[in-house]
């Protein structure tokens, strides 16, 4: 039996690695999760045959409860709410790692001090990831509205961290792992996760969640060593390393650094607000519809506002109407448009916009000069020319879509609202730009009706 268990774990580890590998390329991504899923299934089923186990009935109940709840919420959640669900499930993983550590520490049977240390480390990391992820979930879900900042925040967090590590050290050195110290230790670790996450702004959450994801992986690996479970060691370490790199990549794509996300306060303490000359010029639907109906080339630039307005289906309809008139329609997708990487791609795919109409920044930026109308729907920062021109701007250096180079620019947004970065957008004041004020979905709908008349 032991051999069968080992070989299943081995197969699971291979499937995880191959699955992740496939997930990192768009062509094979979907099969990747299936491979990893197969590995998980095999590993879970074979574990029922682990020698000397008890409590089967309760165990099955626990799996059932956790599994069904997650299945149901996972199916129900809308695409825009994905990041918080990932945070939630990730927190559960961290909590599970913490729970394993708690049980093992209570039992107190360790082969050596190294394993004891690993158990404590895993407990610390897992607990931070658990409570931190739950806060991230609450923030994104709108349960906690504002970044909570308190005085001496960094100092206090550091103190709590030091205390948690100290108590961990006490557990290891005294070997008394089932007493009150254990409780204090877990309390400190959980508190740290909360306090560390509260001050971070909602829009930075994807990076933070990715970081906690990597931490959970590490915690799982550590507990894997404690339980002598190769599948956990390898899967956990792989996720720990992959997640660390992914966190860096995500931060870079958003033009941030990880330490800036964790310790900075983006958008809070900006320098002098640059004043933009000129005024925004509004336009009405009829004029826009004429402009577009007789254009030859149109590029649509969606942003966070499209997600807020859930306008993707209307936009797809608009595309169809324009295509039917023989107009060349392309979508320009900025890598960090929206609030999570790939946000626009997912939403537009959901609305059945064919993938080959979506163009990357690099692919499309040269085409704006030959474009009649650039239609900006709920995007702001990703089309802000200030990022090219003003070295003092907080978004300076971020690559942007050159919508300003199109012959005409139409911007659909609700009002004077700023983007995520809080920076004024020079594009809205440009001579070739007109503002179509209103909700993204409603305005696109009106536009479609108007164009259909020609």
């Amino acid at each position: 039996m032991d051999f069968l268990i080992q070989i299943s774990y081995f197969a699971a580890a291979i499937l995880f690695v191959l699955g992740l590998r496939r997930m990192s390329s768009p062509l094979t991504a979907r099969t990747g999760i299936h491979w990893a899923g197969a590995g998980m299934l095999v590993a879970t089923l074979i574990t029922f045959f682990w020698p000397g186990m008890e409590n089967y009935l309760l165990m099955t109940a626990a799996i059932f409860i956790g599994g069904v709840a997650a299945w149901w919420t996972g199916q129900k959640v809308s695409m825009t709410d994905m990041p918080q669900m990932i945070a939630l499930y990730n927190g559960m993983g961290g909590g599970a790692a913490g729970a394993i550590a708690a049980v093992e520490l209570l039992r107190g049977e360790f082969h050596s001090d190294i394993f004891l240390t690993l158990a404590v480390l895993g407990a610390l990391i897992g607990s931070i990831s658990f409570s931190g992820s739950l806060v991230a979930f609450a923030k994104l879900q709108g349960l906690i509205r504002k970044p909570l900042r308190f005085p001496l925040q960094h100092g206090i967090n550091l103190l709590v961290f030091a205390l948690a590590v100290g108590y961990g050290g006490i557990l290891v050195t005294t070997g008394d792992t089932a007493g009150i110290n254990l409780l204090v230790f877990f309390g400190l670790a959980l508190g740290l996760g909360i306090m560390k996450t509260l001050p971070i702004g909602g829009a930075d959450m994807p990076v933070v969640i990715s970081l906690y994801n990597a931490l959970t992986g590490l915690a799982v690996a550590f507990e894997g060593f404690v339980l002598n479970n190769a599948a956990m060691i390898i899967a956990g370490t792989v996720v720990g390393a992959a997640g660390t790199l992914l966190t860096q990549l995500m931060a870079k794509a958003m033009n941030r650094s990880i330490s800036n996300v964790l310790f900075g306060s983006f958008g809070g303490e900006q320098g002098a607000e640059e004043s933009v000359e000129g005024a925004m010029r509004p336009i009405d639907v009829t004029d826009v519809s004429i402009m577009m109906a007789y254009a030859e080339r149109v590029i649509i630039i969606p942003g966070y506002g499209m997600a807020v307005a859930q306008a993707q289906h209307k936009i797809k309809e608009l595309m169809d109407v324009l295509l039917a008139r023989g107009i060349d329609v392309k979508f320009a997708i900025h890598p960090v448009a929206g609030r999570m990487p790939g946000h626009m791609n997912v939403l537009l795919a959901e609305a059945d916009v064919p993938y080959d109409r979506l163009y990357d920044l690099d692919e499309i930026n040269a085409e704006f000069t030959q474009t009649d109308v650039a239609l900006v729907i709920g995007a702001n920062d990703v089309v802000n020319p200030t990022a090219r021109s003003n070295p003092d701007s907080p978004i300076y250096g971020m690559p942007i879509l050159n919508a300003d180079q199109a012959k005409n620019v139409v911007v659909i947004k609700r009002g004077q609202g700023k983007g995520f970065s809080g920076v004024e957008n020079a594009l809205f004041f440009a001579d070739n730009t007109r503002m179509l004020y209103g909700d993204g979905q409603a305005m696109t709908g009106e536009l479609i009706q108007a164009i259909k008349q020609y």
Partner: protein, 96 residues
């Protein structure tokens, strides 16, 4: 028992593997990949089952129960969400 240098080797090699597998992933896959790796550490379920299976006291059993339920949530939820997101990329038609 995986310990000593063997443990170190496995740890190092797994870290290399994880790092290399992810390097050069396109930005649009960042979120699905985060979700996918989130699913993979759902393997913690296996450990939670073993811990609960050997629990002796009621306290251990209770914590074990919570651990298993959380781990199952991690695994199942991670899978469902990742699968749903990646399904969206189906229209890729061999490009990118």
């Amino acid at each position: 028992m995986i310990e000593g240098f063997t443990a170190l080797y496995i740890f190092m090699l797994s870290a290399f593997t994880g790092y290399e597998v992810i390097s050069r992933v396109p930005v649009i896959l960042h979120t699905p990949l985060m979700s996918g790796s989130n699913f993979v550490h759902g393997i913690v379920l296996v450990g939670a089952m073993v811990a609960m299976g050997h629990a002796a006291t009621t306290l251990e059993l209770t914590i074990g129960f919570i651990g298993v339920a959380l781990a199952a949530g991690n695994a199942v939820g991670g899978f469902v969400v990742t699968e749903r997101m990646l399904e969206m990329f189906k229209s890729a038609k061999g490009q990118h």
